[in-house]
């Protein structure tokens, strides 16, 4: 298997810290192919009713990509509405804290791409702006979306309010109960929130219901998918809209440090914030990348949401990718302390990046993420979301093993206001 060979080669290359490109693709940035495949993954596994629609979406997206006016409108909204570029911040006290346990001369510098400072508090808005501009371009008059923790729902409701389009958000009934502040936010923004009771009543069921709505309303409805998954062209399109993160980060780090980072770290649910950071660096062989999945209560049991490390390839929600599933191909429920990582699938590009060995993937548990959460509050005065708290836990493990002149850049993809109730409960604090 090519992926395995590449991975072996990578491991052998590690002492020199050189990424050996022999026999690997010339570029990691030209995926997917014209059929929407990332190697064996991705594709367009949808019901026939949706197929013509998806083909039309792809045509319209290609036209928009070629249209300078579309890009200019996107850039303008990114700057003046979302608040981009987001800062690149050197976390000095966290860096020092992590050096305390490191050998002399060890302990990498930790930098944060601060997408938690975006309007609505996470990276999700980048994608929503891009997709609603496309919806308007296509003459669609109604927006639907699925949401888990509610972050994508809030971001979608936000852009719908901004552009005056009616908005329907599907949200698992379990999540509606767990995430009431975000449900209220969506309602304030004028969205209709429909609790989904089918299946396990969580994110994947909300996505099923979104697809059912779409198939019944194909003539006027645009489905804003919240992560770099789903049928082609969604994984590519969402990645491209989110790549604003990595494009900015690359320029900011070059300007501030005079060189590229040694390691990028980002958490992964569906994987859009990670791809947004990674993609512009994929062809820089000296930049290593680490994606962090949610290990929940541990990878040895069933209570985790690590599709790449604990799942197997299969087909769900329009794409072929790694899935949490049983031996018969029935989808199993993910678990994570973070509702935003609690999805049984993963964007297909991550599946490909894993198999090619270009990106390394790891997982951290609920408890480790909670420690990461508190560490950042304490050292930097930043309350992170539970999703990037997983990435923080990985930073805390990796930084002490790297030299102090090396640079880690982590995507701080969301702020933690929404999570304080969950964290309080876990820490046994009455609010």
């Amino acid at each position: 298997m090519a992926g395995l060979e590449a991975e072996t080669r990578l491991r052998h290359a590690q002492p020199e810290r050189i990424f050996v490109l022999n026999d690997l693709p010339n570029t990691f940035r030209n995926q997917p192919d014209e059929r929407g495949h990332f190697g064996d993954f991705g594709g367009r596994y949808v019901a026939e009713t949706l197929m013509p629609l998806i083909l039309e979406l792809e045509r319209e997206y290609r036209a928009a990509q070629q249209d300078p006016a579309f890009q200019a409108e996107f850039d303008g909204l990114m700057e003046h509405y979302v608040g981009r570029p987001s800062p690149m911040y050197y976390a000095e006290r966290l860096t020092e804290e992590l050096r305390k346990d490191a050998e002399p001369g060890m302990g990498a510098q930790v930098w944060f791409k601060r997408d938690e400072l975006n309007h609505t508090g996470a990276h999700k808005i980048n994608n929503c702006i891009g997709q609603i501009l496309l919806a308007i371009r296509m003459g669609k008059t109604r927006i639907i979306a699925e949401t888990g923790a509610g972050q994508h729902g809030v971001a979608t409701a936000t852009v719908c309010a901004r552009f005056g389009l009616p908005c329907v958000i599907y949200m698992g009934a379990e999540d509606v109960a767990r995430q009431s502040p975000n449900v209220f936010r969506m309602k304030l923004l004028g969205a209709q929130v429909i609790p989904v009771t089918s299946g396990g009543a969580t994110l994947k069921d909300a996505m099923n219901e979104g697809l059912r709505d779409w198939v019944a309303n194909v003539h006027d409805t645009f489905y804003i998918i919240g992560t770099a998954a789903g049928p082609h062209p969604y994984p590519e399109m969402v990645r491209n809209f989110q790549s604003v993160i990595g494009t900015e980060a690359r320029a900011q780090l070059l300007s501030r440090t005079g060189r590229l980072p040694d390691l990028l770290i980002a958490c992964i649910g569906g994987g859009s914030n990670a791809l947004g950071l990674f993609h512009p660096f994929l062809d820089d062989p000296e930049v290593k990348m680490l994606g962090v999945e949610a290990a929940g209560h541990g990878l040895d049991g069933d209570e985790h949401a690590a599709s790449l490390l604990g799942g197997a390839p299969g087909v769900l929600h329009g794409n072929k990718t790694y899935l949490l599933q049983d031996e018969d191909g029935q989808i199993t429920e993910g678990h994570s302390i973070s509702a935003g990582l609690d999805y049984p699938g993963i964007g297909p590009e991550h599946a490909w990046l894993k198999d090619t060995g270009r990106v390394e993937y790891t997982a951290v548990t609920d408890d480790e993420a909670l420690e990461g959460f508190q560490l950042l509050c304490r050292t930097e005065g930043i309350i992170p979301a539970l999703e990037p708290s997983h990435a923080l836990a990985a930073v805390a493990k990796r930084a002490p093993q790297m030299r102090e002149d090396e640079i880690i850049c982590m995507n701080l993809c969301g702020r933690g206001d929404k999570d304080i109730f969950t964290v309080a409960e876990k820490l046994g604090v009455e609010m």
Binding site: T49, V215, I331
Partner: protein, 258 residues
């Protein structure tokens, strides 16, 4: 002549009856459909995430999985049906993931060994045919494709390419069991499909009453009913066979009277 060809060569439109495998006493329910006069059996493979199905079939999928139905059980149900009814065609309908979990070749061979005549996979469009189509064709199993109101004339040849058995026309853009299409739009659509293919055209989605079945049978080669049966199974449990047979007979009588 294959079992499917035979079923569509009768003087009346074929009646295609769907139920979900592992939901209730499936063997008894299937026998009732045959006794009522069903020409083709569509056996649903349960899946945790049936995103093209409405509430009735979603519930049936969950009941079946809740009862512990496995892929092996579905294949056994098909095998036993084939033993009891050597001449009635049986089509498996379901979603990609359970079908390709052990590899498409494994599934195609297992289906063949269970006497399955055709496979309808909801979420493998012609663009992704490689995921299952070649394996089915190699075993002589018909990949049955869906055409919908959004399938235009330009796209139709691609849908037909590599398919066999019959063409399943989904008469409404939506999920199973909810709305029904206007008779006029079905007549027009079926005429367009039949102009493009020699395959029989069966029409489904939202058909619940014998009168609807008869209206469709005027133009189509087959009528598919699913959610109405699945509702009976959910409602009547062990007593479902009598109800299934009754509704099948009423549907078939209406179709034959056309």
């Amino acid at each position: 002549m294959t079992r499917l060809q035979n079923a569509f060569s009768k003087p009346h439109a074929a009646f295609v009856a769907f139920i979900t495998a592992g939901d209730g006493d499936t063997a008894a329910n299937l026998d009732a459909l045959v006794e009522g006069g069903a020409d083709v059996i569509e056996l649903g493979m349960p899946f945790t995430d049936p995103m093209a199905d409405g509430p009735a079939i979603q519930a049936a999928n969950l009941r079946s999985l809740g009862a512990g139905t496995t892929t092996a059980d579905v294949l056994q149900i098909a095998y036993d049906f084939r033993t009891r009814h050597p001449d009635v065609p049986l089509v498996l309908m379901g979603y990609a993931n359970p079908m390709i979990r052990r590899g498409p070749e494994w599934f195609a061979e297992a289906a063949k060994n269970s006497g399955v005549d055709g496979v309808i996979c909801v979420d493998i469009p012609p663009e992704e045919d490689d995921a299952l189509g070649p394996a089915l064709r190699a075993e002589g199993i018909s990949p049955i494709r869906l055409a919908t109101p959004t399938t235009d004339a330009k796209r139709l040849p691609q849908v037909l390419e590599g398919s066999s058995g019959f063409l399943y026309y989904v008469s409404v853009a939506g999920v199973t069991g909810l709305q029904q299409a206007a008779a006029g739009s079905i007549e027009e659509a079926v005429a367009a499909l039949k102009a493009a293919t020699d395959l029989p055209v069966a029409v489904g989605f939202g058909v619940r009453e014998p009168a609807q079945a008869a209206a469709i049978a005027k133009h189509a080669d087959g009528v598919v009913v699913g959610s109405a049966f699945v509702d009976l199974v959910g409602e009547h449990g062990a007593k479902a066979p009598a109800k299934l047979k009754e509704l099948t007979a009423a549907m078939v009588d209406a179709i034959k009277a056309v």
